[in-house]
């Protein structure tokens, strides 16, 4: 099973953002999206969630096409810029809600992302990094979903937590998962890099020596 994007074009606000982008991703390997701000990394990830319609092209994961919205959505987990947390609820209540919705055990997610000490604090008292950590904890409940789409997952995280997230992602990839990650930092993952460029764009899809040597 391979994730294949074939000549994908995207528009935002009537302007072509991404033209004829193609890439493929094998299980066990992450795909890192790189490019300057505003080049369309987030839009691409949202398009792969089915939230932004493709102008042209197709995306498939094995037999499942992005067109089959319901089936596709059951294959993916998405962590965007927003952490999808309710400030009035505690960290544990937030995670428990997602566990109730997606299945999985809330306590496992709390442990996987080291949320134990802040579990009983309302989210509005948490720092940006703690919120992000809580938001990412949802991934621990999405282990049965093969394709993870992560938009700058490490923003405002400290180095220890970044390492923890990277280790968690490696676990997901080792289990045969897929991950598309828009990030500018080195997560030390087995990864291919897709460089997005402005306007008339070119596509690079090669092994990144910097990444594969990483700190892992």
């Amino acid at each position: 099973m391979t994730l294949i994007a074939d000549t994908v074009s995207l528009k935002r606000g009537g302007q072509t953002l991404i033209a004829d982008l193609s890439f493929a991703c094998d299980p066990g390997k992450a795909l890192i999206l790189r490019g300057p701000n505003g080049v369309g990394k987030s839009t691409l990830l949202r398009a792969l969630c089915g939230f932004v319609p493709l102008e042209s092209g197709s995306v498939r994961l094995g037999d499942v096409s992005l067109e089959d919205q319901d089936l596709w959505l059951s294959q993916i987990a998405y962590a965007g810029h927003l952490d999808a947390l309710k400030p009035q609820l505690t960290v544990r209540e937030n995670v428990t809600f997602w566990a109730g919705l997606f299945g999985g055990r809330a306590e496992d997610a709390i442990e996987a992302f080291n949320l134990g000490e802040i579990a009983n604090r309302p989210v509005f008292t948490c720092s940006a990094g703690q919120k992000r950590r809580t938001g990412l904890a949802r991934l621990a409940l999405s282990k049965d979903r093969p394709l993870w789409l992560l938009d700058e997952p490490t923003v405002s995280l400290d180095t220890a937590t970044v390492a923890r997230v990277a280790a968690f992602l490696r676990g997901h990839l080792a289990a045969g998962g897929y991950a598309l990650i828009a990030t500018h930092i080195d997560l030390g993952l087995q990864a291919d890099v897709v460089e997005l460029e402005r306007a008339e764009r070119s596509i690079a899809n090669e092994e990144d020596p910097f990444l594969s040597e990483g700190f892992a």
Partner: protein, 221 residues
Amino acid sequence: MSSARALVARELTLALRAGSGAALGLAFFLIVVMLIPFGVGPSTGTLRLVAPGVLWIAALLATLLSLDRMVAQDAEDGTLDILAMSPMPLEGLMALKIFAHWLTTGLPLVIIAPVLGLTLNLAPSAYLWLVISLAIGTPALSALGGIGACLTVGVRRGGLLLSILVLPLFIPTLIFGAQTVARASQGFDPTAAVLLLAATTLLSLAAAPFAAAAALRVHLS
């Protein structure tokens, strides 16, 4: 099933926790009805005459006030994106959200209305029908409101647009609801009005989850 329970439990917790919507609608309902005797004068005859309409209009506006919380906050903090990915279909999601909205907004109005009927000198024969008509009619307000909330979810500060969209849809419920109470207070048989009210509610409840989910899909894509 557990996902449905998790969603309703979360909606209730959010509505009841400080800084959230449930108390607002109820307080608005109380204030409007309490102010009426000061506005129209203390004449018991006049109050009795206007009581059914005033109670229903106040309930309607109180519901309207709480609608923008139904999905707008979820859209702002990114929860809606994740909810769309959950195994629960958007139709089910909206049906549960409408149900939770009614529990936290409509139901308190139904319970408090008889007390407020007293302050408006409502005819004794009308109390039962006031409760019945609100119990039957307020779910329609939540359901129709859910459609409006989903249609305006992408609009910042969409409260005005929401009101303009939703108020016309509320009119049949208002007419039949207020007529039920008015007829009962005049000593007539309110059955016809209450049946039409129930029909309006059933139609709204049947259509709303699908209409609201369709509107959400447009917003998400």
